[in-house]
Amino acid sequence: MTTLLALPYWQETGIKLGLALAIIPTTSLILVYLFLFKMMAFMQSRLGPNDTGPYGTLQLIAEAIKFLQKEDIHPAQADRRVFRMAPVVVLGSTFLLYVILPAGPDAVVENLDTGIFYAMAVSSLSVLGILMAGWSSANKYALLGGLRAAGQLIAYELPLILAVMGVVIQAETLNLQEIVVAQATGEIFGFGGIGNPFIFTQFLAFLIFMIAAQAELTQTPFDMPVAETELVGGFHIEYTGFRFLLFFMAEFGTAFAFAALASVMFLGGWWIPGFDVDDNILNVLGPGVMLGKILLISFFIFWVRFTYPRLREDQLQKFAWKVLIPLSLANIVLTGIFKVVF
């Protein structure tokens, strides 16, 4: 693959990293405005924000400014250093995810050969931050929330990875770009017009991935760690101001990243039917296509979030270990058999 500009490696990476850093707040803004503010309001027969800017689009800017003005409070008993580090660790895990998300043949910060493996690894880093937050807050609700989060995220990490395995077996690669290419060059019963998005062959894996991602994002029905009506916010109960903002951004940034991973692995990523996979125009059109697919998937994530009640902790664990993991193992076996037979 060719680069657009012939820059030294470190300059190019620097520019791309800067872009990725700028993209995280933007994507969180898009998701929060579109889904948390507007879609949720319309589902609940409310209007949502409509005063700040056209259709309330500037509401989020106002909220961010509000958070920045707030006093930064540390609880007296808190382990101050860990308390301060926790939101950075959580947001850092989100940021590391963005590094490998491809938006075009060349529009990616770092095209890792172990891309999907890396994504799974860094996304589980956020557990560490959440545990740190829960422990260092010196608050019983936060502690309960942190422990619940740890139990839940570890339990759902497994079906997430196992679901991804099906895709990896079918695409014969861990590289996200090559997964996109494998889908673009695939055929459905000899018809290659739209490639072969893995959602058709890996539908079970797609469902398991989405459910496990919902749990990873601690969204309803798996929002036990933050359960407002019982734990009053769980691990981030003691955070104020910009530290809370970091948690908030990480939550929606990760939602965006997981939606992006799902659209890369199951919906064909940035490829547009009718174009060559290394056509340069895809570097321009690809991000738009990706954004559309990501918004579609996040729509489902948030739709479920606003509709369902939450499960209890033991039911949640039972669901992961007794249903999702056996199903995803079966999916791997099936995929393997089909791979050998065809």
């Binding site: 027969s45 019983k140 359960a227 009506t229 509709t307 009640p309 939450r310 499960l311």
Partner: protein, 390 residues
């Protein structure tokens, strides 16, 4: 001994002590978690002191009194008509229903009876406040277990009922409309038709709740078999209202001890559920809300004409005596024990509120449940803080 060896000896002793501390088994004692007084699930200021082993509750103790406003005492320094202003605020979600038993007790002491039309309108407003009250419960239960949307539907549709109450009484929450011997006013023109259409909408709301929550697998998984109260325990703790009927006890004061309102002149049934769990309590309240809308329809059909006020003196003096009247309020049995010495105001008022008894079962029912279930059980027991502390 030199000073150096002294220091060495001290260092040795302290290092031994530190080792000993490490070797002591880590203490895994129970954790005491105070749910409340400020907590979203208590919708008010109730404090529940839970002793936790991990997430399991070993002991839960409700502590009330954070909102005590001394209404029983305040009633003693007010005249009878002034008292209704206070007792409106006991169960603030269904406040018209609070006034009725007090007024009925005063009427019983004075030996006056309101004319039939007044009794019928009282019954209509009573049932409307029941619909308004329970509608909020139906949505709020969703929030307690994490579904955000139902409560907004509940607020939207409850507003219609409150509008109807406001149109008659002039107050959304605190009507203060019931008078000794009848009512303050008649219903306005066109109100009957409007109320009918509102009742249709409330039935749609009940169907929506049935779709959103009752039929939802997660809701059922969270509520079925959680917080089971057997009938004899429920009776032993003095539960009343839907909490008792959800345990399978067929007991409704509207049917069993009607103090003269129009309930015995219409067709309706008492809903019970044999299970006694959180789901049963939700289900019974859902059916009751729907039943109440049908009752309002029938009451509107059969509304008699005539005066709305009996002949009572301008300055009300209640003859000496004692009376206890209780009615089936949205939350359960609400009763007023009024003692009069023949003055302008009562000598003593004892208020029996349903939530106080309903919440007293918390230590029994919460033994051994998990923290998330504490919230579902609290939500399904359905208490109003003003009703506990009054």
């Amino acid at each position: 001994m030199t000073a150096t060896s002294d220091r060495e000896q001290m260092a040795y002793i302290s290092s031994q002590a530190a080792d000993a501390r490490v070797n002591v088994e880590l203490d895994t004692g129970d954790m005491t978690l105070n749910i409340g007084p400020q907590h979203p699930a208590t919708h008010g200021t109730l404090r529940i002191a839970c002793q936790l082993d991990g997430e399991q509750v070993i002991r839960a103790e409700p502590m009330m009194g954070y909102m005590h406003r001394g209404y029983e005492k305040l009633c003693e320094v007010r005249t009878y008509p002034q008292c209704t202003t206070l007792i409106n605020r006991i169960d603030w979600l269904g406040s018209f229903a609070n006034e009725v038993p007090f007024i009925l007790a005063a009427e019983r002491l004075m030996e006056v009876e309101a004319p039939p039309r007044a009794q019928w309108i009282r019954t209509i407003l009573f049932e409307l406040s029941r619909v308004a009250n329970l509608a909020l419960f139906l949505g709020d239960m969703g929030v307690q277990i994490g579904a955000l949307t139902p409560v907004f539907f509940a607020f939207r549709d409850r507003e219609r009922v409150l509008n109807q109450i406001e149109e008659v009484t002039g107050g959304r929450f605190h009507p203060n409309f019931d008078r000794i011997g009848g009512l303050k006013d008649d219903i306005p023109k066109g109100w009957i038709e409007e109320t009918r259409s509102v009742m249709v909408k409330m039935r749609t709301f009940c169907d929506e709740m049935e779709d959103l929550l009752v039929g939802n697998e997660i809701f059922q998984a969270r509520c079925r078999g959680v917080g089971v109260i057997p009938p004899e325990v429920a009776l032993g703790y003095g539960l009343s209202g839907a909490n008792l009927r959800a345990s399978g006890v067929d007991w409704d004061l509207r049917r069993d001890a009607n103090p003269g309102l129009a309930w015995d002149q219409i067709e309706w049934r008492v809903w019970t559920h044999p299970d006694g769990d959180s789901f049963a309590r939700y289900w019974v309240r859902l059916q009751e809300t729907r039943e109440a809308t049908h009752m309002v329809d029938q009451l509107l059909d059969g509304l008699p004409s005539g005066p709305i006020m009996a002949k009572v003196p301008r300055i009300i003096k209640v003859p000496a005596g004692e009376a206890y009247v209780s009615t089936e309020n949205p939350l359960g049995e609400m009763g007023y024990y009024v003692v009069s010495k023949g003055d302008l105001g009562p000598f003593r008022v004892k208020i029996r509120t349903p939530s106080f008894n309903n919440i007293s079962i918390v230590p029994w029912v919460m033994k051994g449940v998990y923290v998330p279930d504490v919230i579902t059980i609290l939500g399904s027991l359905y208490f109003i803080l003003g009703d506990i502390d009054r």
